[in-house]
Amino acid sequence: MADLNLEKGQIVAETTFSITRDSLVRYAGASGDFNPIHYRDDVATSVGLPGVLAHGMLTMGFAIQPVVDWIGDSGKVLDYQVRFTRPVLVDAVVGASVTVVAKVGSVDDDVARIDLTVTYGEQTVLGKAQARVSLA
């Protein structure tokens, strides 16, 4: 269970995810999103993209997991939102490395707002990535 003596700015979780093309195919099957820009280079480049991109919803999906592991129960997530600001390009050979840092944004009685910083290379890929979690 999470430590309830939370302070604004405190880092509660930090994890780096290694995303490969295999991850994208797995997510396509699990989610039902078979847009080929997520597994075919020729289709991605034909619509002006630099290459195959991760599904935004895959990034949103794993970015909350460090928070779930910290709080111990995904049912304690009351609200979760992100803005998709930059794509995650997934190289066929080396994949992509995406880092999630979860910080306390605010605490109000039994609810904390956790702010996520999600970076790929030197750039953030999600904006206003926030979860409200129950501390009760």
């Binding site: 997510y27 699990a30 039902g32 919803m57 949103m60 909350i64 997991q65 111990g72 609200d79």
Partner: protein
């Protein structure tokens, strides 16, 4: 895009029965390793009837509502120009295996911004008793001609 779509409420989607193996499959896909997402005993010990879906699992049900929107004859949405702008889930409770879920799509707003259109689609997901489970809100950006 057709501005008259704003405020339109669609027919409820066909009931979606949430399977235990589907939750496990989705959990593996989003790197969710919590025992509550995989092990029924762990989930029951935490007070749930069966394994718990990861927070973004509602996207699987939301997908069928977005398909309704894109298929609407008078919507004028070119799928190849659609970019996902933002996404939000507001939960009353988590989805668990065995839930039978129905979604109702409402087009909350349509805006134009510098040649692009932005449509905010709100999918209200309820269980078989009619109780609210989660609301999924997506903003889709439809790129204009370049």
């Amino acid at each position: 895009m057709n501005p008259e779509l704003q405020g339109r409420v669609f027919e409820p989607t066909a009931p979606y029965l949430v399977g235990r193996e589907k939750i496990r499959e989705f959990a593996r896909a989003v790197f969710a390793t919590s025992p509550l997402n995989h092990d029924p005993e762990a989930a029951r010990a935490a007070g749930y009837n069966d394994i718990v879906a990861p927070p973004t699992f509602p996207v699987v049900i939301q997908e069928s509502t977005l398909a309704q929107l894109l298929a609407e004859p008078d919507a004028g949405i070119d799928f190849t120009r659609v970019v996902h702008g933002d996404q939000r889930f507001s939960y009353t409770r988590p989805i668990v295996a065995g839930d039978e879920l129905t979604a109702v799509l409402t087009v909350a707003s349509i805006k134009s911004l510098g040649g692009h259109s932005m449509v905010t689609a709100e999918s209200t997901i309820t269980d078989a008793s009619g109780a609210h489970v989660v609301t999924a809100v997506s903003t889709l950006v439809v790129r204009g001609d370049e």
